[in-house]
């Protein structure tokens, strides 16, 4: 395929190195060992990026991280093979990560992030070339039109802390092509056109990359299930399946030992082992005898993960809600939702409890209490809440500091350590993990609530 060809020795005028777009599977021969090894190397990069994101690293830190990870893992002794390794490893991992919705989501998100940072580091010549390869037919804004819009464009630039360079180039693009720029109001839009600055072009390209990969993953899944898995059952399939299970890519949130908790213990257990986000929801529920939808989902699924049976869950929620809306309304309006969460209604999907990443990125509004307190609470409220949890004033300052610097999960980890008086090396990635770690510590100290 053409990309591979152009990567061979730079002969004649300097060949512009480009990032492969993984449009179609390469017709390359690869040794079976490399099949696995290349994939593992790339997986290290992806996992590293995923970790960086959950730790709330800022964009410039991520940029450094990505280039370090890439340099450390994706090199090859033969320089002309570097791009091949890139391409092959990507396609192998597609096989591994195409198989469920959750895997696809994770892979898509991390590969897109990887692409974004690699793209940003390229020169504008290379960027323009890549844009052309994506067949983005967007024209640069002509002078006359530009003069007419200059004021507004300048206003937008200033609103995001930038200024309009004197030789600014803008692209005119349908607004739906750049959703993230529109969402954050980083572009001027008029009559459905978004005016995108050169330095924002990344967004255009990344959106294309993402949408293409998303479709490709679904197709790969179909091909895998319908023919490849069977055909390769002696050769590639075992490798692919081993890669999937030996490596914990996305957050697998189902607790490994399924211990039930009973209703009579729930208040006690909430105080001792719930992470702050769930404690807050729990307390608000006890206080107001109500929670809005976002809160019901976040807390409800957490409780399911913690071992609350459907019957107990119905009793629990009913006992609270009926005090506000009455038992009849509860049965009519809320019971269905709880049963839905347990996979007993509708699509019958057994929904998994939300991970920290999902909770952190939620957007609680008026009357809501879900979300991540380390992110969504004001500092005073956070202090008060931590104080109530019994976090000592010294540890509290550390926690607040982490939260202030947007390291929400680290803040939660420090809280865990302060409350339990022991270290938590793995860090907090999931509220249910916080809970089970807490329970095991308490059990070992002989104070458990089974």
């Amino acid at each position: 395929m053409e990309i591979v060809r152009s990567q061979s020795k730079p002969s004649g005028p300097a060949a512009v190195p480009t990032i492969p777009l993984y449009r179609s599977a390469p017709e390359l021969e690869v040794r079976l060992e490399d099949f696995e090894l290349f994939a593992i190397d790339r997986l290290r990069v992806l996992k590293g990026i995923s970790d960086g994101l959950s730790r709330g690293k800022k964009p410039d830190e991520m940029e450094k991280l990505v280039s370090e990870l890439w340099r450390a893992n994706m090199k090859h002794s033969i320089s002309s093979e570097v791009t091949n390794k890139d391409i092959i490893s990507h396609f192998v991992l597609r096989l591994v990560y195409c198989r469920t919705e959750e895997l696809r989501k994770w892979f898509l998100s991390i590969e897109t992030t990887l692409f974004r940072y690699r793209f940003q580091r390229e020169t504008s010549d290379v960027q323009r070339e890549l844009m052309a390869e994506f067949e983005l037919p967007y024209k640069a804004v002509g002078n006359v039109e530009y003069e007419g819009l200059k004021d507004k464009l300048s206003q937008v630039a200033r609103s995001i802390g930038q200024s309009l360079p004197s030789n600014a180039v803008f692209y005119k693009v349908p607004f739906e092509e750049v959703p993230d720029l529109v969402a954050t109001r980083k572009v001027y839009i008029q009559k459905g056109h978004a005016y995108v600055a050169m330095n924002q072009v990344v967004s255009l390209v990344v959106t294309q990359f993402r949408s293409h990969l998303s479709k490709a993953l679904v197709l790969t899944n179909r091909k895998w299930t319908s023919m490849i898995r069977e055909k390769e059952s002696d050769r590639l399939t075992p490798i692919v399946e081993a890669l999937a299970t030996s490596y914990l890519g996305p957050d697998y949130s189902q607790p490994k030992e399924f211990t039930e908790i009973s209703l009579k213990d729930i208040d006690q257990v909430a105080k001792s082992s719930f992470p702050l986000c769930m404690r807050h929801l729990f307390e608000k529920l006890r206080e107001d005898h109500h929670l809005k939808h976002g809160g019901r989902m976040q807390l409800g699924l957490f409780l399911k993960g913690v071992g609350l049976t459907l019957d107990d869950a119905l009793v629990f929620w009913k006992s609270e809600f009926s005090r506000k809306v009455g038992t009849e309304r509860f049965d009519k309006e809320y019971a269905y939702g709880i049963r839905h969460n347990y996979g007993k209604e509708g699509k019958r999907v057994d929904y998994t409890p939300y991970s920290c990443q999902k909770i952190i990125s939620s957007t609680p509004g008026v009357g809501d209490h879900h979300g991540c307190p380390y992110r969504h609470f004001s500092e005073e409220n956070l202090r008060a809440a931590l104080g109530k949890m019994g976090v000592s004033s010294r540890a509290l300052e550390d926690v607040i500091d982490k939260a202030r610097n947007r390291h929400y999960q680290l803040a939660c980890t420090l809280t865990f350590e302060a409350v339990h008086n022991s270290s938590c090396d793995a860090g907090v990635n999931h509220p249910n993990q916080y809970f089970s770690d807490s329970q095991s510590i308490l059990k070992s100290k002989g104070n458990s609530v089974a």
Binding site: G161, P179, H193, T225, G365, V366, G367, H369
Partner: protein, 453 residues
């Protein structure tokens, strides 16, 4: 049916309203299936709903997709809270008969799916989700309860003419932006029947937006973030405001805030000004203002509303040009945005499969019809005088006849249906017809070209 408590205002006005309201609220059987049955029999604009939902595909043109209407999901909420999802109909008469027969308390409109919703199970077996939404209007839902922390006249389900301007603001800001910024033309605003408004953007481009793109539009409109747990909920950093926000402030928010909300909500009264002072991150200024305001407790400045007087003092201090601190730069705007800027329900807009109540339904709790609102005249809209089911049926009983065969023409509903047709439906269908024709021509040209080799 819980009686609607009237909001506390001037005594005189309460009495007047009470006499307007009493006949409606006093009848416990005001909203009942029989009234509703008559409504669906004589007044509900079935044919117009069908024509709208068909988007021109009910025409004779060869390019028309005959399956289009049948792939739309409707849902019915029946008496006893029985909820029927995935209803679909193959023709106008099918839909009309179903509505008349089932007499739903609420009709919701969902998405157009890849296959007939009633037959979705047949396709689910194929494994990879072939039952999926393919088109759906871009919709917005603005509900007064989302403003409960900034309105004092009512709370919860109540709505009055003091807080309704918040909806007027929302319509003006969003309608302008949807047209000028996003280039949409076919926009329908509808009264939700009790305490809010819905917006339906029906351009073809809007209908084809995916979830991510819808979320982007909703985020573009979002300013207010947070709740009682977080601190400052409106944060307008940056050297300048985005042109959309600046225009909204200058053309709509500022005036409404200063000329209506400040006084009708008594925002700077004794009991309430602390909340605004809380938004100013400068102790010096807040204590200065507090001092001033405790001094002039008794309105000694004659006729001027004390809220307006205090607001002027506040603006003077914050905008005097001596303020360089970044947190203060836009404090005045932030306060205005907090109290007035539209608050949309993000979840409603983000998902293609989200169901939304159909226009011309009757709200079971108020008996009012969900009538369209003309955005160009939204300042005149009064939620307390929207026709109710019993009023309309009374008008029918009076037996006024019109030339047309439309019963609604002789009632207060006539105005709404006529507006719906002339200002929304006709222009929309005209543009749909043009689109069907031109895409048909384009397809033919394409197939001709591809054969030519």
């Amino acid at each position: 049916m819980p009686g609607e408590e009237e909001i506390g205002r001037d005594d005189m006005i309460i009495d007047q309203l009470q006499s307007d309201f009493t006949p409606i609220n006093a009848l416990p059987d005001e909203f009942n299936p029989n009234y509703l049955k008559l409504y669906y029999g004589k007044l509900f604009p079935h044919a117009d709903l069908f024509r709208w939902m068909s988007y021109g595909t009910d025409g004779k043109h060869t390019g028309c997709d005959q399956s289009f209407f049948g792939r739309r999901e409707f849902s019915f909420t029946l008496d006893n809270d029985i909820y029927l999802r995935f209803q679909s109909f193959n023709s106008a008469s099918d839909m009309e008969n179903a509505i008349k027969e089932k007499c739903p308390f609420k009709i919701d409109i969902g998405a157009v799916y890849s296959v007939d919703p009633a037959k979705r199970h047949a396709y689910a077996q194929a494994g990879d989700n072939v039952f999926t939404p393919v088109e759906r209007e871009l919709v917005f839902d603005i509900d007064m309860t989302d403003y409960d922390d900034v309105r004092y006249c009512c709370s919860g389900a109540d709505v009055c003419l003091d807080c309704w301007p918040l909806m007027t603001i929302a319509i003006k800001v969003l309608d302008t932006s949807l047209r000028d910024d996003f280039g949409f033309n076919h926009i329908l605003w509808v009264f939700s029947g009790r305490r809010g408004v819905h917006c339906w953007v029906c351009d073809a481009k809007a209908r084809r937006l995916n979830n991510e793109q819808r979320a982007a539009v909703a985020d573009y409109f979002r300013v207010y973030k947070g709740n009682e747990n977080s601190h400052r909920k409106v944060s307008l950093m940056g050297q300048a405001l985005h042109p959309f926000l600046a225009r909204s402030y200058t053309n709509v928010l500022k005036d409404f805030f200063e000329r209506k909300l400040l006084s009708s909500q008594q925002l700077l009264s004794e009991e309430r000004y602390e909340k605004i002072l809380d938004m100013i991150p400068d102790e010096g200024i807040t204590s200065d203002l507090r001092g001033k305001w405790q001094d002039n407790r008794r309105s000694s400045m004659g006729k001027e509303d004390i809220n307006i007087f205090r607001w002027d003092q506040l603006k003077h201090l914050l905008q005097s040009g001596k303020q360089k601190a970044p947190g203060l730069r836009r404090c005045v705007e932030e306060i205005v945005f907090s109290y007035a800027y539209p608050r949309i329900d993000m979840e409603v807009s983000k998902h293609m499969n989200h169901l939304l109540k159909a226009p011309f339904c009757v709200h079971p709790k108020t008996g009012r019809v969900c009538v369209p609102i003309d955005p160009d005249r939204c300042e005149e809209f009064d939620p307390t005088t929207v026709p109710t089911l019993s009023k309309l049926l009374g008008e029918i009983n009076m037996g006024l006849r019109t030339e047309g065969d439309n019963e609604w023409d002789a009632t207060s509903l006539g105005q709404s249906v006529r507006y719906f047709r002339s200002s929304f439906l006709q222009p929309l269908l005209k543009s749909c017809k043009e689109e069907i024709e031109s895409s048909y021509i384009a397809k033919k040209a394409q197939s001709r070209n591809s054969l030519s080799w």
